[in-house]
Amino acid sequence: MVATPDWPPTARNSRGYGIEQRLAGVSIARAQSVAVSGVDGQLVEIEVDLSSGLPGTTLTGLGDKAVSEARDRVRAAITNSGASWPNQRITIALLPADLPKVGSRFDLGIAMAVLAANGAVPPAAVAGIVWMGELGLDGRLRPVRGVLPAAVAAHRSGARVIVVPAENGPEAALIDGIEVLAASTLSELMAWLCGKGDRPPRAEPSEAPTTGRAVDLSDVVGQAGARRALEIAAAGAHHLLLQGSPGAGKTMLAERLPGVLPLLDRAAALEVTAIHSVAGTLARDAPLSLVPPFQAPHHTASVAALVGGGAGLARPGAISLAHRGVLFLDEAPEYRPAAVDALRQPLESGRVVLHRSGGAVTYPARFQLVMAANPCGCGSPTGRDCACTPMARRRYQQRLSGPLLDRIDLHVTVHPVPRADLLGGPGASGVGESSDVVSARVLLARQAASARWSEHGWDTNSLATGSVLRSGRWRPPREALRLAEQALDRGVLSARGFDRVLRMAWTVCDLAGRSAPGAGDIAEALSYRTGTSTGWAA
């Protein structure tokens, strides 16, 4: 039994003044919450101890500034919700004590533990629930970042009920097997726990619509070669470099790549949602999107903006936000060389490990890189009026490093659109296929690749390693390989480039529905490695 903290108390002694009655050692209460680091959550136990002593609040457990400020927010929220703040010595511990805690998401858990310790709500009811949310001074619950990873962690550790702010409800509800309650105010929760009010509503998951593309591949006029390359890139998840003069349609093509990619499966979509949840870039009403993400950072982006960073614990960057989707670098040579070269490691490993003072964080970063580049800095629409000296052209082209370009499978030149294609008339190539038609072929090709490499655990051709591709079982027949072997002999193709040609040849053959790449498939693949005329090194 916890004594009421209301002032004045009712007990009186013989001298006629009331004496505060407090029982020692009974006012400990617990609540649960979740700390999120990277896209992983860990359950945090919040303990509150009320003891006699001078009124004051201490908060322990390696919290950052936002956590230590929770004291004042929670105090105001509790008093403005009609309950009283204990006029006692309050010790709040966030356990495990050696795990750094970041952000305002612990506000609700702290408030609930204090209320339970103070006897305002039943302690037993509070202890079994995971609480997430930031409190406004008026007791309103405000949305926080990282709710999806928190819900995953809560479910994994066996929690049955999680209470989140109403705006975060649809996001947390994506996790099956845990009951998600969406609450709006602290007073609503207090009334519910005391049996004087309704249970907060269960949150329902919602998905973003997958139909209604904003852009379609049929918008692109002509450009049969570039469209073909885009289809191959989509089918094999190959990285793509589009080069060509300004206005030819490089940006237009790149923006239409997500539309021809297959929709994400649920597991992949949850990975994407978790990253966007941590970054705080989620659409609140429809958090789960099956459409692959598309990120196009401006060319002034810093290394931290691209790969992730920030003080304390690093936040995800554009490459992680583009996880399972497309990272598009328009005007790629204009980016800082250091920023673009920072992509090399994540391109290989599919994830990025960021070390900061607050600890190391790993974010997934399996993205498809699409770069667009002009042939030179002057940007003349046709190569004829280019005013650049050969030296200036070379310097411009050196801004993309060789090792990075070597990791890009398809190097495609986008030629200016002829008048006939643009305005119609004799010789026009007609309206191109729509995104739906292309994505249907892409899906079939991906299914073929995924089935073929299932024993290796790869779902796209871009993941296949050179040693397997060159091994006896998967090696194309001798006569099919002749062209590639000649390129290797002449030194036009590096050993790594040879593997990339094999990889693309498999994609070309998957798109055609053949069982093994023939000479034609290899020739086409070879053209994307060595067919460059504008000078970007292959």
Binding site: W7, P8, G16, Y17, G18, I19, P55
Partner: protein, 119 residues
């Protein structure tokens, strides 16, 4: 005499009476030195108790106990050291208590005795 000083003296009388009721004996009240004043010094068995009395007539500025700020707690320690330097003795324990008294204009006076507040 100002009203607030009268209230303070009333509070110290009530506090002393309460400490005696609680089985302690008063050694000294309003002990002064250059650094300030200790409201009540009492003995509780083998313990020497330095007691700060805080009296208020309303809760408008928070509870009386909450007025014992960190600065005031530091001064209580300093005053205790000065007292012990002048009055050496064998005490099993040195303790700091706060007696917080609320005497509203209407209604009953209430008293709260916080023991060992500086631990």
């Amino acid at each position: 005499m100002r009203v607030k000083d009268a209230l303070g003296q009333y509070g110290e009388r009530v506090a002393a009476a309460h400490l005696i009721d609680a089985g302690m004996s008063i050694i000294e009240t309003n002990w002064r030195c250059v650094a300030g004043e200790i409201d009540i010094i009492a003995s509780d068995g083998r313990a020497l108790v330095f007691c700060e009395v805080k009296t208020r007539s309303s809760l408008a500025f928070g509870s009386p106990a909450a007025a014992v700020t960190w600065v005031k707690q530091r001064r209580m320690r300093e005053l205790a050291v000065r007292y012990l330097a002048e009055n050496p003795g064998k005490w099993g324990e040195i303790r700091f208590d706060v007696v917080a008294i609320l005497r509203p204009r209407t209604g009953a006076t209430t008293l709260e005795h916080l023991r060992d507040v500086l631990s």
